[in-house]
């Protein structure tokens, strides 16, 4: 099977998408645009973590994608709370 070669052909497309997301995350005129860019960037990176874990043939590398998804959701909630109240409560 040609799994490693297929992944080596697909990963540059993900890198192009990363560059596009990074452009919006750095440029975006308002604060929610920046946070949306970071959000999409991290979801892209989660896919890249798991696909590269298959590429390396190392199953232990895949655990790192779950904290990425969870903590970027936490960043969303923090920034939304900061924007709404200006005070970070519980």
């Amino acid at each position: 099977m040609f799994v490693q070669e297929f992944i080596a052909a697909v990963v540059p497309l993900y890198l192009v998408a990363t560059a596009l997301y990074l452009y919006r995350a750095l440029k975006g005129p308002t604060i929610p645009d920046h946070v949306l860019g970071v959000d999409l960037l991290s979801y892209n990176l989660a896919v890249l973590f798991i696909v590269l874990g298959i590429f390396f043939k190392e199953p232990i590398l895949i655990v790192t994608a779950i904290p990425l998804a969870l903590w970027i959701y936490a960043l969303d909630i923090y920034v939304a709370k900061y924007l709404e109240r200006r005070v970070m409560g519980a």
Partner: protein, 126 residues
Amino acid sequence: MIEELLVYTGLGLIALGAFAQLVSGIGVNRFRNFYLRLHAATIGSIWGCVYPIAGAGLVALGYKELGPYSTFMAGAAFVTSFLVLILSPAGSHALARAAHKTRQALVEPCVHDALDPSMCVRGGGS
């Protein structure tokens, strides 16, 4: 036989995810409004993140060279895709609600805004 079918289905889902991420990246850069960009972001997070991770789990189920831990990898991939499926709409909703309530992002080319008509900026280009 069934392993080859799983691997080919998973690779197809990974390629679909790459295409969806490209479309979402172009859309995020081309739309002129925060709320329209949110629409492109849903394409990038559901089609571009949930489906490729589930496809990677299918590949891990059928790929023999991963060794005895391939079921661990497949389970972690399915759990991650389920978490993204739940958490990404929740985060986007919180962000959009905060942006609309605190008037951070105006609705720039606007037809009708039922929540707050004073944020509706008419015209603004084509």
